[in-house]
Symmetry: C2
Subunit: 209 residues, 2 copies
């Protein structure tokens, strides 16, 4: 019996290293990245079905109506969302699918798919978080302070996640995260088929009493 993959939602503080973690999981363990749909125009070099599924507003709206999106939101006049079909296809093949989204989207997906796995990525301390954001050198202090202030709000939502992933040493973090997701294949909620099957099989012995 081929085990289904686990739909894994990754959120976390800006500067926690989510992007690198996700990249490593894809490279090292062949995780599949969910591909979003959007109504915004493709940028140079972007390809339909690679960076995004580029849709018209009408196409997107009909996906909303037909309940074919795991979650969606409107942002600066454009729709963004996660089509179910690709995710479902990959899970059925036994592949883990990663969705890197912010907290509100993550909680929407969990509501829709109770067996989605929610991981929250954090640095080992607030001090490390600050150092990483400053160390990037890509943002001014105002932006950094805004990100840190937002982290305070975000911390309140950590409790809704299934696991806390502390990203201290990247390599260790990648392995820990993979071990968590692999282990979750065996969680009772994901082995309903097996439970039903062995329960049926066992009934023979009851009848033979």
């Amino acid at each position: 019996m081929n085990k289904r993959g686990v739909l894994t939602i990754i959120s976390g503080f800006s500067g926690a290293g989510k992007g690198t973690l996700v990249k490593e999981l894809v490279k090292k363990y062949d995780y599949k990245l969910s591909i979003s749909a959007t109504t915004r125009a493709p940028r140079v070099g972007e390809e339909h079905g690679r960076e995004y599924f580029f849709l018209t507003r009408e196409e997107f709206q009909s996906m909303i109506e037909d309940n074919r999106l795991l979650e969606w939101a409107e942002y600066v006049g454009n729709y963004y969302g996660t089509p179910m079909s690709y995710v479902e296809e990959q899970l059925a093949l036994g592949n883990h699918v990663i969705l890197e989204i912010e907290i509100q989207g993550a909680l929407k997906v969990k509501e829709r798919c109770p067996d989605a796995l929610l991981l929250f990525v954090t640095p080992p301390s607030a001090k490390t978080l600050e150092e990483r954001l400053v160390g990037r050198g890509t943002e001014d202090m105002e932006t950094i302070n805004r990100r840190l202030a937002r982290a305070v709000e975000e911390a309140d939502s950590m409790k809704y996640y299934d696991y806390i992933i502390v990203n201290d040493k990247l390599e260790l973090c990648v392995e820990e995260t993979n071990a968590i997701i692999e282990s979750e294949r065996n969680r009772t909620v994901r082995r309903q088929d097996f439970i039903q099957q062995i329960s049926e099989e066992l009934k023979v012995f009851k009848e033979g009493e």
Copy 2:
């Protein structure tokens, strides 16, 4: 910050290989076995604090009254139970503690300790279960049939467990089980201290806005 160990309850069908699995976890990964208390007399070769804590009825009853047992039951005129102190001590040291008990006891412990981890061990199929019980050669067919009939009832309780551990190849099963328990250290319910700590630390940035 030293992580607490995980209190791991192992139950499963008779013939699923629980005993061997537990032995391997202790040998290979230094898991600690919970030691039960009992009012029955020690048998030749049994030592207080190794096989059991041997107590008088008065001692046992005062442990019940003082709420110092994780679970207890009376069986053929004797008390059997799990003292909290040893378990608590080992968890605090960061060691995983294993408790191999039947389903009713497991559910009692879960009620008392919501962060206890419940693992249900099963062979890959009912056929394998039968073959293993017959293959042991230690029981007559009547006993075997009784065990199989009981397995039918027990299957109804699989849903209360956190994970289903399919014991097909022992070595693989030992590794999977260890990966599950290690991963569970990072489950949100067990990282409350960390969440509180980083939330506190982050507040500095909010105040500095």
